[in-house]
Symmetry: none
Subunit: 122 residues, 2 copies
DNA sequence: ACGGAGTTGTAAAAGTTTTGTAAAAAGCGG
DNA sequence: CCGCTTTTTACAAAACTTTTACAACTCCGT
């Protein structure tokens, strides 16, 4: 069977050397150990991970995860970020970056090396 | 995400180190002792067991066992889960897991957990 | 370097929703 | 009716989310 690269379809899964997220199962694992996340925690993580390397403004997060329109004053995002970071343990500072005055950014562990050459496992 | 049973492998019986379910005879045994189950209790257990490792949403259980459509407010599922758990005795916490806000999941006894079985959303 | 305004971090409290449970009520076949 | 099963009721308990209150930090102008 030929390997076919799906088109613009977003990947069903994220994986780096420590974190793994299975979007189709709404599941995440850190160092192969299941992460126990609440729904909001998962949604937040998924959104960040799906946009790895990109800054996501607070407004966007609040809209996509909470459905909040602008101009709503709430600290729930911060609290959820904190809980996520806690569950990411020692890696949290590697993974979730605060962009002051704008939002947050998820960074793949140890910087992404654009399309790693898959030396096909022969 | 829609719950689908199409992926479930249909087998005539289930067996692990403590629990055995014979679907063709609608019978179950715990540690080789026959479980005395009512009809609904059996149907609920069977549905869970046939989808071992998978989360079954409340809605799906209510539909498949009770024929209830959505939007019906009832606690009968919870009550049946409780009775089942009671009859599973000490193993109940091993077997029937509550997935908060979603539904329930039956886990084979002490099964080595594969990543796919993990569900972050609690 | 300093200071202030605004932003983010954090712990704990408060609020909301979901699930667990016992007991009563209702349903059902014999 | 009777006995068993199922469902509802009414709270209790647990899980989850949001707010609160204040500490800590960042940016930026002076």
């Amino acid at each position: 069977m030929a390997f076919t690269q799906s088109m613009a379809v977003q990947s069903e899964r994220y994986k780096d050397s420590h974190l793994e997220v299975d979007f189709s199962h709404s599941a995440a694992a850190l160092d192969s150990r299941r992460m126990v996340l609440t729904r909001k925690e998962y949604e937040l993580l998924a959104l960040l991970v799906q946009n790895a390397g990109e800054i996501i403004p607070r407004e966007a997060l609040l809209w996509r995860v909470w459905g909040y329109s602008n101009q709503i004053r709430t600290r729930t995002l911060d609290v959820h970020i904190r809980r996520l970071r806690k569950k990411l343990g020692d890696y949290s500072s590697q993974y979730i970056e605060t962009i002051f005055g704008i939002g947050y950014r998820f960074q793949p562990f140890r910087a992404p090396r654009a399309f790693q050459d898959f030396t096909a496992v022969a």
